[in-house]
């Protein structure tokens, strides 16, 4: 039995959770196991979505305490589901909750964990062998999980989501959280979401800019390019450090690591630390005045030129392309 953890965010099943259900279904095809999902405070439409992603059974947990996503509470709920279902493989997304809960569960269940898998595992006897990125994407490694209970968290945006017919059975699953002694009290929440923009970790298209833009006042064209493409904006580390852009936009080794389908880097030279955070991008476009900028060596498409000339032209080209599409 494979158990997959799913989560609701802003009224929808998280994209990363649907990916995790798809992933669990792929493993189920290999092993002949069945896929159960645990869903926290999900409504009928959300449960339907989880079913369409490939869960055959959904344990629907309704418990207000879990809405804080405190890792102690969530971990206890998942642990209870693991025990009830006799799950031997547990799947998470390698997202904020997955990074906090999967390792805790690993410690609690003495279950080997591969955190950040990028591919479907292969079966080798009683072990699962699964690939993940190491050295900040400079290499991959094949990990063997040898324990009886196994946990894999899937790097988001590793596979496109496929939804099919919903053939799931939903059962209400009551969890007992009274013995969990988390003392974390939430005092304040601050949203960094920008209306109409996909949050950076989930974005498929990203427009990013660096010091080459010379000042925060010049970001208008970056935002316009992003809007035209329906992309999310990002920035390099110096730009965040100089407070030209908010910290949550910083992508790179010490910022957010992303792997969108398209990463457009404007005025970013492509230092190894920056590249380490974006090297999982499927396609990279680099725009830089310096034809020797190292980023061109790691890019798929490049334009040498001044951002202040190129970006407006690129916006026009994208608009023209979009108009022709319609």
């Amino acid at each position: 039995m494979i158990l997959v953890y799913t989560e609701i965010n802003k009224g929808k099943v998280k994209k990363a959770s649907l990916e995790a259900v798809n992933y669990a279904a792929k493993i189920a095809e290999l092993t002949g196991a069945s896929v159960s999902a645990i869903a926290i405070n999900a409504d009928a439409a959300q449960l339907e979505e989880i079913g369409k992603a490939g869960a055959k059974k959904i344990l629907s947990v309704k418990n207000e305490k879990l809405s804080t996503l405190d890792s102690m509470l969530v971990s206890s709920a998942v642990e209870q589901a693991v025990k009830a279902e006799g799950a031997k493989t547990i799947i998470f997304s390698f997202d904020i909750t997955g990074k906090a809960v999967a390792p805790r569960l690993s410690a609690r269940l003495k279950a080997g964990l591969v955190a950040g898998a990028v591919d479907v595992p292969t079966i080798n006897g009683n072990s699962l062998e699964v690939k993940k990125n190491v050295f900040s994407g400079k290499a991959t490694a094949i990990y063997s999980i040898n324990s009886d209970v196994k946990i894999i968290s899937l790097l988001p945006n590793s596979f496109p989501i496929k939804l099919g017919e919903n053939s799931s059975t939903v059962i209400d699953f009551a969890v007992d959280l009274n013995s969990v002694n988390s003392k974390i009290i939430i005092k304040e929440k601050k949203s960094t979401d920008v209306a109409g923009m996909v949050p950076l970790p989930e974005a498929e298209l990203v427009v990013s800019a660096g010091r080459g833009l010379k000042g925060p006042e010049n970001w208008g064209m970056i935002e316009e390019l992003a809007k035209t493409l329906n992309a999310t904006t990002a920035c390099s580390r110096p730009v965040a450090d100089m407070h030209w852009r908010p910290h949550h936009e910083h992508v790179g080794q010490t910022g957010v690591a992303i792997r969108p389908n398209l990463y457009i880097a404007v005025g970013i030279s492509g230092a190894i630390q920056h590249f380490a955070g974006v090297n999982g991008s499927k396609t990279i476009v680099v725009i830089n005045t310096d034809k020797e900028a190292p980023f061109f060596k790691s890019a798929d498409y490049g334009i040498v030129g001044d951002a202040f000339t190129i970006v407006p032209k690129l916006i026009d080209a994208v608009k023209k392309f979009k108009a022709n599409q319609n």
Binding site: P103, L105, A107, K187, D193, H248, K297, T309, A317, F321
Partner: protein, 247 residues
């Protein structure tokens, strides 16, 4: 109140990665090792600031590794850590490392464990949360600001779609992200004292090896970059659709 900071020994960020023994081992030859940046810049430096502000008595660094790591532990001493513990084992995976550290923390009464959010070597983001699991303590992950008021921690940390301010009574495990503190350069006094600070080496307990790495592969570089000039941007946009299929 004593703070325990787990540190990892990792190749410098600019290292050209290579493998040995038929791609089954990391090739450490000629590699410069550093304290994992998240452990150093954010966890350790913030822990030292708390001690300097009189809010902690002692900052101990702990590492699971072999004697090759001693130089890295002494770098933490030069930055200001009071003492260090090295658990003498190769540390096959995060579970093993976290179990050793949790056991030490439990037995020696550390009330605050400040870990980096991930290592830049194996990128698992696991050890901090596992320590919390082994010790049955709350975890605040991806902390960007941290204050102590007596035995109460006030923490700002990243959550999906924003940040959250929380408070929690110690004992507590936190994983530290950017914003916690600024990078420090060791001063001469720190460097001089680093040699004489106590580094205790203790044997590992347990031998669980729940996961192991079978092989490594270097990530393929991109093939050639197709270059365009400002008069052919339309062409590039079309290729993003027809060739790359990303728009």
């Amino acid at each position: 109140m004593k703070i325990l900071v787990p540190i990892s020994n990792v190749p410098d960020t600019t290292t050209k990665i290579a493998f040995a023994n038929g791609d089954t081992e990391f090739n450490a030859a000629g590699v410069q090792f550093i304290i994992n940046p998240y452990d150093e810049w954010y966890a350790l430096v913030r822990a030292l600031e708390l001690k300097e502000a009189g809010k902690a008595e002692k900052v101990t660094v702990i590492h699971v590794g072999l004697t090759e790591s001693d130089a890295t532990i002494r770098k933490a001493f030069a930055l200001g850590a009071d003492d260090g513990v090295r658990i003498d084992a190769e540390g096959p995976d995060a579970y093993f490392v976290a179990e050793q550290i949790a056991k030490y923390a439990q037995e020696n009464g550390y009330e605050l464990i400040m870990a980096g959010k991930e290592t830049i070597s194996y990128n698992g983001s696991s050890v901090g949360a596992m320590i919390a699991g082994f010790m049955d303590l709350p975890l605040i992950s991806l902390a960007t600001k941290f204050e102590l008021e007596g035995s109460k921690a006030l923490v700002e940390h990243d959550v999906d779609g924003g940040t959250q301010v929380v408070e929690c009574e110690l004992p507590l495990v936190i994983s530290c992200s950017k914003g916690m503190a600024e990078q420090r350069i060791p001063n001469m006094k720190g460097i001089m004292s680093a040699r004489t600070k106590p580094l205790t080496v203790i044997p590992a307990s347990g031998s669980d090896k729940l996961t192991n790495i079978k092989s490594y592969t270097l990530s393929a570089g991109r093939t050639t970059c197709k270059m365009f000039d400002e008069d052919h941007i339309d062409e590039m946009v079309n290729l993003l659709h027809t060739e790359a299929k990303v728009i």
